[in-house]
Subunit: 166 residues, 2 copies
DNA sequence: GCTTTACCTAAACTTAGGTTGAGGTTTTAG
DNA sequence: CTAAAACCTCAACCTAAGTTTAGGTAAAGC
């Protein structure tokens, strides 16, 4: 069955795929080297694709829109048994997984936004005591880690910018 | 006054700046080639920085946290008269400018999220008719531009994924 | 005064996500 | 049958934001 499927299906050339998926031919070659898509060769050594490559490319593009790197996309796609065409179920799983990352990114940006917002009010970037301006002096001294914005409460703290010296 | 200021101010070496700003020395060299910061040389050709370089680096880092590219940061910093130290006012202006971009990015990601959300429900990525799955067939045929998600209503449209064929 | 540390420049290297070009083969249209 | 269009591989190139390395100079500590 799987063999006859392979034989019977109409195959697409690289140019046709490129056109229908709206990517460059070179991109398809590139994706293939990265193991994101797969092709078979005809007798003249030209690539032939199963139609489901379009689905995979769509998944890749969707992932990229979400800011997911190709290697992460590859991992996710790679979890499908044997480079199978993603089904409705697969897609639902992938999108749920990616959505979590998307949520994180959005949350992160909102924390940044909040922080900037707080700092516009007090103009504290020019002050020694601002946590945004001078993370070293403040963050280090209060020994709460090197990286700002990793935790929501730090963004909230930034709202209380104060202006001790300078 | 400005001249005496230059003479009298204590100057920082590249190592001191690197340590206080928590960046690598090579990064400071790099920023200098990009025109983001500025240095003077001592008699032995070593870099000496005015203390306000720390402010500029803080601004650069803040911008980067917001996902602003160095060249955009450079443009914004470059609008300050003569590489001046950013003041409270300058910072407020910059952050307002960047905040707008941040808002756009957040809005964009929320649109992506909404779209993915809608598409989880219907599993339409596997269908020919899904606008997310097959932007060419849909977007092109309805001639509403090449780029998805640029407009909010497109994300809303994605919620109505339908499943005509396949 | 000597040794170690810090600093200098210039160029090459890194990762991600591709694009471009050269030189050669296959397929398709007339 | 022939010419054009499409395809092939491999290698080099591109941007961003730096880092690393090599070979050499300056400054600081004892």
């Amino acid at each position: 069955m799987s063999d006859s499927t392979l034989r019977d299906e109409p195959r697409l050339s690289v140019g046709q795929v490129a056109k229908r998926a709206d990517v460059a031919v070179s991109t398809l070659h590139f994706y293939e080297t990265k193991g994101l898509i797969r092709s078979w060769r005809n007798t003249g050594n030209q690539r032939r694709y199963k139609k489901d490559v379009l689905r995979r490319i769509a998944v890749i593009k969707a992932g990229q829109k979400m800011g997911i790197s190709l290697s992460e996309i590859q991992e996710t796609l790679g979890q499908l048994p044997q480079s199978r065409t993603p089904t409705k179920e697969d897609w639902a799983n992938m999108s749920r997984f990616w959505q979590a990352q998307l949520d994180e990114k959005i949350a992160y940006m909102m924390r940044v936004r909040e922080m900037v917002d707080g700092c516009i009010g007090c103009g504290c970037l020019s002050m020694k005591s601002c946590p945004m301006y001078n993370p070293d002096d403040i963050v280090a001294k209060e020994s709460n880690g090197a990286v700002w914005l990793e935790q929501p409460e730090q963004a909230r703290a930034a709202k209380n910018c104060y202006d001790k010296e300078n």
